[in-house]
């Protein structure tokens, strides 16, 4: 198809440029805002040229904001720490639970196997509040409200189905012959699983883990309902921050930048796997 005319090339170029502007401008603009003082942010018309300042980030990192009215405490770094802790713990737990289960579903045809697999997948699609609202009452009785343990447990709702279904697809695509041969050579099942199956599925496990991390990080509603300020991740913390200090726009922008940087960096790093992971393996990337 070499008959693309110059006109068509130009039109394509313009359209792609428009697409890039629409999808990247908001990120670009928030990054610019995060390096501005409130004064330059409030300037009309908005300007691309200003004296950059890192005061917003300084205020967030030191945890105090000096304003004319006095010092304002910002707990945002705590939110960032919570996000890291919750997402990491949730992904590790769901890898430990999900990878063996995925292997079982891929390698064995067993009674109730598909039923169990579909029950686990259906968590991905049910309205989260359906489970969360009664859970908030139970958690109160069990003393799990506002604990990391309770939150990490609930995070399994999004992490487990993802890991289970992506890793299962990977195991299914690997021929079981190597494992059979290794077993016949006299090795135990456990050793075969550890030495053969897991290393072969490693790209799938890594991809699923990264995606689960991103989804856990981006989750909003679990912590909104089950956590108070000191355990909240960035998604909820940023909203609370906006409500609490509604006019510190520079700091709000800086907080958003700090909150989205980890997932965006991971996404760029792992982009090869994203397509397959996002569609639960329905489409090959």
């Amino acid at each position: 198809m070499d008959h693309t005319s110059t006109l068509e090339k130009i039109v394509r170029g313009i359209l792609i440029a428009l697409v890039l502007v629409f999808f990247l401008f908001p990120i670009f603009w928030i990054v610019l805002m995060s390096f501005q003082t409130n004064e330059t942010i409030l300037r009309i018309p908005p300007s691309f040229f200003f004296e950059p300042t890192i005061a917003n980030y300084q205020a967030l990192i030191t945890g105090t904001l000096k304003t004319a009215a006095g010092n304002l405490d910002i707990a945002f770094m705590r939110n960032l720490g919570n996000s890291i802790l919750l997402s990491t713990a949730a992904v590790i737990l769901s890898l430990l639970l999900g990878v063996p289960a995925a292997y079982a579903f891929a390698r064995f045809r067993f009674r109730l196997g598909e039923d169990i697999a579909f029950t686990l997948l259906s968590f991905r699609f049910a309205p989260p509040l359906l489970v969360l609202l009664p859970l908030s009452l139970y958690f109160k009785q069990l003393g799990l409200t506002n604990t990391y343990f309770g939150l990490v447990w609930v995070y399994q709702l999004i992490c487990l189905p993802l890991i289970l279904w992506i890793v299962r697809g990977y195991f299914e695509d690997i021929s079981p012959d190597i494992e059979h041969a290794y077993r016949i050579a006299g090795n135990s099942w456990w050793k075969t699983f550890r030495k053969i199956a897991i290393p072969l599925a490693r790209p799938g496990i890594a991809a699923a883990g990264l995606l689960a991390f991103i989804f856990a990080w981006n989750n909003f509603v679990f912590a909104l309902i089950l956590a108070s300020a000191d355990k909240q991740p960035v998604t909820v913390g940023a909203l609370a921050f906006v409500t609490a200090s509604g006019i510190q726009y520079g700091q709000i922008a800086a907080a958003i930048v700090l909150s989205i940087t980890p997932t965006l960096a991971l996404a760029l790093y792992a982009q090869r796997y994203l397509v397959e992971g996002l569609s639960l393996g329905a489409v090959k990337g």
């Binding site: 609202l133 077993r183 981006n218 998604t235």
Partner: protein, 306 residues
């Protein structure tokens, strides 16, 4: 085959082998059972008169919460706004996603870089994306408010005006999720067999004809999968709407989950909140069934060929 024959004499091994899949998958299930219980609790609550502030009135009322909805204008408003939101966002995302996928179809280095960059909005937490757009649409200094001002719309209030609130949250949803549809359709487009297109080019078939008679029909399974998946998510949208407007202004954006949240925490009416969520669950259950069927078919096709 040989392994089974060899294993037969060793009866203990075989028993262990039969239990193995359960041993492997049960921990995952057990962790989730704690989460299955609340589901049934919700079902039970939905048949209770249950208000946290009036515990004395608690009682079993069968389907009265549901029957109450039938004559409740607020409930029908929620159904209407949820469906409008879901179809509007997914419709726009499908058109844009398909358009962008077609633009980037050729697997050149430049196109690949563009498609990777377009993943960034999708990887932004929707709740944070809503805050970003809230800053950009701030009436005092928001860059978008400034732009529409230049176009002659002074006093354009975005999410704080009932007549433009839906438009604003739709814009955020489109920003976040169009890349999802784009990326699926791009993978679909690039995996289509080349032969029909080469034949059409040889025969000098017009390109609009190729698009409507070859590309679209062949891409249809991918489009259906992507659209079902997005509808399933979009009808449950909470993060974007809640962080942008908390369901307001007034009752403009009270979609299912936002209304259920407010019923629970603001009006402490647990029974009504649960009934709303059960209705939403029934809708998503139906959609997820369609989706899983479609998804398995597609998965078989792409993996079978690979």
């Amino acid at each position: 085959m040989t392994t089974a024959a060899q294993a037969r004499p060793r009866a203990r091994r075989l028993n262990w082998g039969r239990a193995l899949p359960y041993v492997l998958s049960l921990p995952a299930l057990v962790v989730c059972i704690g989460i299955l219980i609340p589901f049934f609790t919700s079902l039970y609550y939905s048949m209770l008169r249950f208000r946290l502030n009036l515990p004395a009135l608690k009682g079993f009322i069968w389907f009265d919460n549901y029957i109450g909805f039938l004559s409740d204008a607020a409930f029908w408003k929620t159904v209407q706004i949820s469906l409008t939101y879901a179809f509007l966002t997914v419709g726009i995302e499908l058109v844009f996603g398909l358009g962008i996928a077609l633009l980037l179809q050729k697997p050149t280095r430049f196109n690949n870089i563009v498609s990777i960059l377009l993943l960034l909005p999708l990887m932004t937490a929707p709740a944070l994306a809503a805050l970003m757009w809230k800053l950009m649409t701030n009436p005092n200094f928001g860059i978008l408010s400034y732009f529409v001002g230049l176009l002659g719309f002074t006093n354009f209030k975005w999410a704080s005006d009932p007549s433009t609130a839906l438009l604003t949250v739709t814009l955020v949803d489109v920003w976040v999720y169009t890349p999802f549809i784009m990326i699926l359709l791009l993978a679909g487009l690039r995996s289509l067999p080349k032969a029909p297109f080469e034949a059409a080019a040889l025969d000098g078939v017009p390109r609009s004809f190729v698009f409507f008679r070859i590309t679209l029909p062949m891409l249809m399974p991918y489009m259906i999968t992507a659209v079902l998946f997005r509808l399933l998510d979009s009808i449950q949208q909470f993060d974007i709407i809640y962080s942008m407007t908390q369901g307001g202004p007034g009752d403009t954006l009270l979609v299912f989950q936002v209304r259920a949240y407010l019923e629970f925490f603001q009006y402490t009416n647990v029974g009504r909140s649960a009934a709303l969520l059960i209705i939403l669950w029934a809708i998503t259950y139906f959609l997820s069934h369609l989706f899983i069927k479609q998804w398995l078919k597609l998965r078989e096709r792409t993996h079978g060929r690979a």
